[in-house]
């Protein structure tokens, strides 16, 4: 691992020593002044607003699902600092290769809540993010997305572009072969990919301690010759700094970076999951104290940043989200051709035949009525 110009932070927080980059504590106090990113108040306020928006969208999605208006849903609650910090660094031409729990970053890329809702309402048009450049659909088959990110990284490099690829995975996902293979390819090819592991402590019911015996997840980078760092994922500033450094590293052609963002899934795995089956409230409450929104708000208060009218904001966001959901709910036309049209760029006769046979059945059915 010949790390020319490896930023000092990767030495200082070498994951083998299991140190964690943290800038503010749970009370919002700055504990690492030297590393505090210099951000205008307005940027911090904006970050908080984005986190709040993601939080509210999640809460509402869960309630739509409870009302039986949406199938399943995977909430992001507690992991917003990661998503918004990433979103503040991702450029329009950069690539986002998501897993399925990084809504805030999708929104930052320009994806709309309507599209996200449409996806969970069971329509592929929602998952395609049609109008936004360089975002892949969510990856359900865990781990596979890491290879796609590396391949995009290769293309970016080959085409001598300056794009950076952001990709995400969960703590559970680090056990999949594809995770390791992809980091290995990224090391060998030296591609501009930022791999984020959102270590939210659980893969559905399985705690990270049963997932791996490594000292942390960032240290997995060592096996593949890329720099890695463990970061407090509930600390917006730490995540902001980590992405700043990683983006700079990747964009300047030095290669890939692995970021472990330590966080906690405050909600259920999906709306069909019941966390009380496998974890206790005490634990949830403990982590609740590290809620990234709470921490950032406390920081803002103690730093004397202009107060925002949160109640009014919440109201505004709720309305906005409700509107998007209503829009998505209305878009319920799903023609038969949607099944066939995108299978191939050039539709085989076989599919044409199957479709037309089915249409015959439909007209028989129509007549029968």
């Amino acid at each position: 691992m010949a790390h020319d110009n490896l930023p000092a932070i990767f030495h200082h927080f070498h994951p083998i020593e299991d140190k964690m980059l943290q800038i503010i504590d749970n009370e919002g106090n700055v504990i690492d002044k030297k590393r505090m990113p210099e951000l205008d108040d307005e940027i911090i306020i904006d970050a908080y607003k984005q986190m709040l928006y993601e939080r509210i969208a999640d809460e509402m999605a869960v309630s739509y699902q409870r009302q039986g208006r949406m199938y399943t849903y995977t909430p992001n609650i507690g992991q917003e600092a990661i998503h918004i910090a990433a979103g503040m660094h991702i450029r329009g031409e950069d690539w986002l290769v998501p897993a399925f729990r990084e809504m805030g970053t999708l929104l930052a890329k320009g994806v709309t809540m309507k599209e996200i809702f449409l996806f969970y309402l069971g329509n592929e048009h929602g998952g395609s993010f049609r109008n936004i450049r360089n975002v892949l659909p969510m990856a359900i088959s865990i781990g596979t997305q890491f290879h796609h990110a590396v391949g995009i990284g290769y293309a970016v490099k080959y085409q001598k572009k300056e794009e950076v690829v952001f990709t995400f995975i969960g703590d559970g996902g680090t056990s999949e072969g594809d995770f390791s293979e992809a980091l290995n390819f990224a090391g060998v090819w030296q591609v501009p990919v930022i791999f984020t592991v959102q270590n939210n402590q659980y893969a559905i019911s399985v705690p990270v301690q049963k997932q791996t015996r490594s000292v942390n997840l960032a240290v997995k980078s060592v096996a593949f010759g890329i720099p890695g760092i463990k970061v407090d994922g509930n600390d917006f500033f730490a995540m902001y700094l980590a992405y700043q450094i990683a983006v700079d590293y990747a964009r300047s052609g030095r290669g890939a970076v692995l970021i472990e963002a330590l966080t906690y899934r405050l909600g259920a795995h999906t709306t069909s999951d019941d966390p009380s089956k496998y974890r206790n409230e005490a634990e949830e409450q403990l982590w609740g104290k590290s809620d990234p929104l709470l921490r950032l708000k406390r920081y803002m208060q103690s730093a004397g940043i202009r107060a925002i009218d949160e109640e009014q904001l919440r109201e505004q966001y709720r309305e906005e989200i409700d509107r998007q959901f209503a829009d998505a709910e209305q878009e319920k036309s799903y023609p038969l051709s949607d099944l066939f049209d995108h299978m191939y760029t050039d539709m085989p006769d076989e599919l044409r035949r199957q479709k037309s046979e089915y249409e015959q059945f439909l007209s028989w059915k129509e007549k029968r009525r």
Binding site: N123, I140, S205, L339, L351
Partner: protein, 324 residues
């Protein structure tokens, strides 16, 4: 007798065998807390975390380690969380689980049961609605089993666990809890590789399995009203297929349709039509047909009604074959 859903019946089968055989272990993702469908509910508490446990999230590892356990004296049952997540394990299944007996000329057995929910109709995300049975059935060395009722699920699962061959046990998730049935409380097995005649009839043979049996039954009621007598066969085993059951029935009825959710091309339907030709060509009065899914990705919830095979569609196809 006790009234059980399919989930409960499988749970009961696992319970009986765990109790009986100390060498049996069960693991997979979230299996400790009961699995996402609660099929292994209560078993960890009862048998301990060295016999019923969570594995890391890696399907190739789950299946590959099971093979290692099997050659060294354990009898592992592994759960893969959904059919769509069997594919990271496909290499271990095809290259090793299915082959170790032959590769070692019988020195090592592979008594592994790989079980997973499959099939559509539950308004799920991508990779949660597929029916990949044909892929497994084409792999020599495996047996592929699919139950259609709680009763069958229990008897077939116990038989699968007791078999010394590797078994792919596919559970139609759509009917996991959709029906209840009286199921004997004790241990019983059903023979692997044998189909069941669900209902006798004389005009046409309908072959199906898994969740499609119910749909076929509804269609058959429609057919009956139209004066058509249908024989319904539940395959139960996709490999080996019960050739004799097909032969007997198709020679009698002269007509066959196969109903299966999977993509039509290269499917169980194709195989059964080949068998019908081999076994009953001179008796055929109409071309045997397959009613399957399109050769498309199974759509998300809004598009799924097109993809799913409705009783009405089956009835329509019965009519077409009868009036050929």
């Amino acid at each position: 007798m006790s009234v059980m859903t399919m989930v409960k019946a499988i749970n009961n089968a696992l319970d009986i065998k765990l109790n009986e055989d100390q060498n049996m272990v069960i693991y997979g993702e979230d299996v400790g807390m009961g699995g996402v469908f609660r099929v292994t509910e209560g078993l960890q508490r009862k048998y301990g975390a060295d016999r019923v446990f969570d594995s890391p999230l890696a399907e190739s590892g789950i299946v590959g380690t099971a093979l290692g356990m099997a050659v060294s004296g354990l009898r592992p049952i592994v759960e893969l969380q959904f059919e769509g997540f069997t594919f990271p394990a496909f290499n271990q299944i095809l290259s090793n689980v299915a082959r170790i007996q032959n590769r070692s000329r019988g020195k090592y057995g592979a008594p592994v049961v790989i079980r997973f929910p499959y099939g559509g109709g539950v308004n799920a995300l991508e990779h949660h609605s597929d029916s990949p049975e044909a892929l497994f059935a084409h792999i020599p060395g495996l047996k592929v089993v699919i139950p259609s009722t709680p009763h069958d699920a229990k008897g077939l699962m116990i038989a699968a666990i007791e078999s010394n061959d590797p078994i792919i046990f596919m559970e139609p998730k759509r009917i996991y809890r959709a029906m209840k049935q009286e199921v004997p409380e004790g241990k019983y097995t059903l023979p692997l590789g044998k189909a069941r005649v669900v209902q006798e009839g004389t005009d046409i043979t309908v072959v199906a399995f898994g969740a499609m049996i119910r749909e076929c039954q509804t269609a058959i009621a429609l057919a009956q009203q139209a004066g058509i007598s249908v024989e319904l066969i539940d395959l139960r085993s996709i490999y080996p297929i019960d050739r004799e059951a097909i032969r007997t029935s198709v020679r009698k009825t002269g007509r066959m349709i196969v109903v299966a959710e999977a993509h039509e091309s290269f499917s169980v339907g194709s195989e059964l039509i080949a068998i019908a030709n081999e076994e009953a060509f001179l008796y055929l009065e109409a071309p045997p047909r397959r009613i399957g899914g399109f050769d498309t990705i199974v759509p998300l919830a809004q598009g799924e009604p097109y993809y799913l095979i409705s009783p009405e569609r089956i009835f329509y196809e019965i009519g077409k074959t009868i009036h050929f």
